[in-house]
């Protein structure tokens, strides 16, 4: 066979080096080309990761046994010889950027799998963290970085970030997902480019807080940012609860950073119970301690009470208050506290709301006490912070039906005091507050509420929500956060601007884990919902970029995509179908072939 010249650019020779010219015949296989190339460059190194990339065709020549003829390579082909793994900067949901080597030659799906296997997977646990993280101190540090939630961002950071203002903006972002059946190189990603790693499908398979620490943390970060950047809408009440949870998660993760992994070390509930039992059985020396634990701390003091419902002109009146079980009793004075109280108020089931202004030294506890006739309003006025924190904590326990003997009493007092501190600092010096001491409440809510409320005004609202979550462990708090996020009506929606067949205007297709929705752009209303359950098949015409879907009951829809390639829509639908098959198989391995069949388009067939 006639020999001809093939020029190959070798990356390792430097960017300015001229291409290496080889004399080849068409029946030479790719492996032979590489061998010749390596001999010619005379560089001694490990070439095992290197492969040929065909620039015009945008493809890797990975089948080394194939001949040049079979690949259709002629003298005009521009080939590059380079490693298949290149560094990329990976931006994680938490905002952390990692630099790591990713595979540029396998489909993005596999590349991502590789990354995830390294970062987020849960193989055999070693000291609560995936074993390979324990290999070196650097890896250990990375693990910590990934598994610990980030502190709340400064309000300025939130304000500076891009926020999608409309559903169309969101659709544009969703138009940028990489094609998972093609490799990074084919999609124009260069060495050292920055790519985002995000949860794309909102169907979270088999999350176990014990094993999925990193995954859970990153999921939380993604959810938190989606809320802070108004990517997903929620009501004001929900935002306050999210804020309270963020505050709590931050606080707990600072005080017990190993919480997540220690819970992993705790084998199961049973062993936890066992250790509890051992404690309960107790040794003889702990007898007095046990008794101490069983007797509730006493709480009594002079407080002022006011009943706004009673038609009296009298203001606050001072009495001697005593906390008993879940009730408060009050007496005329300390001296008379042995006899019958003037009144006893059972707090069980009541609503407790704070009304505090540290600057004005106002410490009010508003109680709404249920009674057969309705709710009775009672205000308790405390003199100072210390007193307030104690009584507030007691009232909260009482409303939950707990006594002061409950172990959470002290921590409740602490959390109230730390919240008061927060109000103090956010109302006082604004800019340069040490970050660990207090958090600007604006860091916990989206910019919409920055405009609506001052940090000082937000504090009591978040505090109000906080009382319901203050006792959660770190894992539970993260889980609660995710649950509330999942319960939002717009949860899990990815948007694409589309043009429905026969329609003259652009509309938005929302893709959710279980359904597709059609949104009218003008009104913003959901016009129609289709569920995957009823879907019979979908077709994509790659030529005219149109997706056609058939549902049961002869429902057919067809649309062309405007803000995204229809491969993205195809991948989303196929991906969610794939997810629904996963739960069925219940195996830990992933049916990659099925994923490609469902999402790959015609390449996969």
């Amino acid at each position: 066979m006639a020999a001809w010249d093939l020029s190959v650019t070798v990356e390792d020779l430097g960017p300015d080096a001229p291409p290496v010219t080889l004399s080849v015949a068409s029946d030479l296989h790719v492996g032979g080309v590489i061998l010749k190339l390596v001999e010619k460059t005379q560089i001694k190194r490990d070439w095992s990761d290197h492969a040929l990339w065909w620039e015009q065709k945008q493809m890797w020549l990975l089948r080394t046994a194939w001949t040049l003829e079979k690949y259709g390579i002629h003298a005009d082909a521009r080939l590059h010889f380079m490693p298949q793994h290149k560094p990329v900067r990976l931006a994680l949901p938490s905002g952390i950027t990692l630099r790591l080597r990713a595979c540029f030659s396998s489909p993005v799906f596999q590349t991502v799998m590789g990354i995830c296997r390294m970062l987020i997977s849960r193989p055999c646990l070693y000291n609560g963290m995936p074993a390979h993280f324990a290999d070196s101190p650097e890896m250990e540090a990375i693990y910590k970085m990934l598994s610990v939630t980030q502190p709340p961002p400064a309000p300025e950071v939130i304000a500076k970030q891009y926020r999608p203002a409309s559903v169309v903006d969101k659709a544009h972002i969703h138009g940028r997902w990489l094609d998972s059946s093609r490799c990074l190189m084919q999609q124009g990603i260069q060495e050292n480019d920055r790519v985002w790693l995000r949860f794309k499908y909102y169907a979270f398979y088999d999350i176990d807080p014990k094993y999925d620490v990193v995954r859970l943390t990153q999921l939380y970060e993604q959810a938190r940012w989606a809320l802070l950047l108004e990517d997903i809408d929620c009501t004001e009440e929900e935002m306050m609860l999210f804020g309270a949870l963020q505050y709590h998660i931050n606080k707990v993760s600072q005080s017990e950073p190993q919480m997540l992994s220690t819970s992993a070390a705790m084998d199961d509930l049973e062993s936890a119970l066992q250790s509890l039992e051992v404690k309960m059985e107790g040794e003889s020396s702990s007898a007095s301690e046990m008794l101490e634990n069983m007797t509730a701390p006493e709480l009594n003091d002079y407080l002022k009470i006011f009943r706004p419902k009673r038609l009296t002109l009298k203001g606050y009146k001072q009495y001697w208050f005593k906390f008993q079980d879940t009730s408060i009793c009050y007496f005329k004075s300390k001296e008379e506290s042995i006899g019958e109280p003037i009144q006893q108020i059972n707090l069980k089931g009541c609503e407790v709301a704070p009304d505090v202004n540290v600057a004005a030294q106002k410490f009010l506890i508003r109680l709404l006490i249920p009674a057969p006739e309705g709710m009775n309003e009672v205000y308790l006025r405390c003199e100072n912070e210390q007193q307030y924190a104690q009584w507030m904590a007691a009232c909260r326990l009482g409303s939950k039906g707990k006594t002061l003997a409950d172990s959470s009493f002290q921590s409740e007092i602490q959390s109230i005091r730390s919240f008061l501190a927060m109000q103090k600092t956010s109302s006082g010096s604004h800019g340069n507050v040490p970050a660990d001491e207090s958090i600007n409440t604006h860091s916990l809510v989206s910019p919409r509420y920055h405009k609506k409320y001052k940090p000082k005004q937000l504090t009591p609202r978040i505090l109000d929500a906080y009382q319901n979550v203050a006792q959660l462990s770190l894992t539970d708090a993260v889980m609660r956060f995710l649950q509330i996020w999942q319960a939002l009506p717009d949860f899990g929606l990815s948007y694409v601007v589309v043009r429905f067949k026969g329609s003259r205007k652009d509309e938005v297709l929302g893709i959710a884990p279980n359904r597709l929705i059609r949104i009218d752009l003008g009104v913003g209303d959901v016009v129609k919902t289709w569920r995957y359950n009823n879907m019979k098949q979908w077709n994509v015409n790659w030529d005219i970029q149109q997706v056609a879907i058939e549902f049961e009951g002869n429902v057919n829809i067809a649309f062309s995509c405007v803000t995204a390639n229809c491969k993205i829509v195809h991948e989303f639908i196929g991906g969610y179908i794939f997810m629904s098959t996963r739960s069925r198989e219940k195996s830990d391995t992933l049916n990659e072939e099925l994923f490609h069949k469902l999402t790959g388009g015609h390449e996969a067939l």
Binding site: R176, E351, A487, K536, K597
Partner: protein, 552 residues
Amino acid sequence: MDDIDAMFSNLLGEMDHLSQATTAQLHQYLLTESLNELEDHDLDALVADLGSNSTKQTSGGADNQTIAPAMTQESEPAAALPLPSNAAESSGDLQMSKPQTKAEKIKLALEKLKEAKVRKLIVKVLMSDGGSKTLMLDERQTVREVLDELFEKTHCDCSIDWSLCETNPELQIERGFEDHEHLVEPLSVWTRHSENKIFFVARPQKYVMFRDPQLFYMWKKKEQAGLSGINQQAKQLLLKGLGRRGPLPRLLPKPHCTGPSWTFLRVVSLLEGGPTSPFRAEPIGRVPWAKTRPPGARLRAPTPGLAPGWGPGPVCHGRPYQGRNAPDNIAPRIIRAHKPLHHSKVAVQGGEYQEHFGGSTVIVPDIEGTLYLKEDGRKVWKPRYFVLRASGIYYVPKGKTKSSTDLVCFVRFEKVNVYSTNSYKQKYKAPTNFCFVLKHPCIQKESHYIKFLCCEDEHTLLLWINSIRIAKYGSVLYKNYQVAVKASSLQTLHSGAPKGRSACLANPKVTLKTIHMSHRQTSSLLLLLDTQKSEMHHPPPVYPGELQPVWI
């Protein structure tokens, strides 16, 4: 050390004293007031429940004659089953004999403290057939347990619809207790002269959200077109959708050692851009891909005859090319018929989905619409547009949109229960009789803290009430349902067995329970029944009895 010892014996003695006092009190009451008013079968039922309490009771209040025959009657079952009664005695001995070690003492003290705090109620549950059953309720008993007990006593069909339901004649409201609730708790907030009653009735609405999920999750569709033809399979799928985010925390860890156990494929990189990107100022083309890849370059197949596609290489494996020559120009190149997946989904129903997430979020039906609201203390009912979310009921303020950020919170569910109502058109001049009420369980009388809402029709009312229950209880409701289904299927199995056997099964259960009770000292509250009085007050057969709480 001696001090502690002394302290303990003091403590124990005091508690014994205390409990005896309460029992004595209890007895006095039982004897003097109500026992002779109770009908015979009520007494029998009570006696069966009280069981081995007898030893103490007789010692406490043996001086009464009325109780004596009853007591002899009740000692029979205990005698018939020697093992349990022995157990009762031995535990009684344990109490008497001096505890050996301190650890034991502590344990005993803890137990005693706990027992002393356990509240008990005697209640009369009214049956739908006009009869009634008297039960002794322990604070720790859930509604589910009480239902099971009633199943045994009534030999009903044990369907999942059976529920315990409280009615409040004053407010003309009623509510079915949820299976996980501790029955004593809601009952103990009844007032002294309450006319509230408990019914044991079949309520088809109890688990309607699981039986007919399409009503809730496809309610909009119902408005558009009739939704009659939904099949069982589709319902199950809908249910799964419901359960998907309502998983139970898994108790046992999965064997994670099988193979590479990563599970994380749903992460896919997003190109540079997005929120933080400097690209954001740059307008994104209508088809951003076109920029990076001229379509002509790679949308062509390398060889003619292969389908036009992005990638090189062979494309159609045995599938004929139908591309642009296909008649409708929609080339079915990636047909994935769903059939196989579809079918297999059905098989997974129940269970699988509970493992997705360790938490307990359930998708709340996105119910919304105009309801009439009776504003605090006013007589008029004003229409407002309400939206249900997991976090509460919201309304759309005047001139605002339905978007999340504009919604105003109307009520949250933590502290309120939802009640259905009875003829509010008459009572409160409501636009229709399809009203529901949200209130704190403690509130028993009319108050402006009660939220009154009125729906246009019965179906809307059903949607709202039960969707609120889904929002309030979340996955707990689903768990209750599963337990109920299990219980009903078990019962159908048992019903085939000969009657003698089922009686055998029933008996030990009762006695075992009574043994427990012998250690518990009833403390404060007792609900007693007064049938004669009730018959005078409430002649209609639907309300044959009345519960009159008595506070001791």
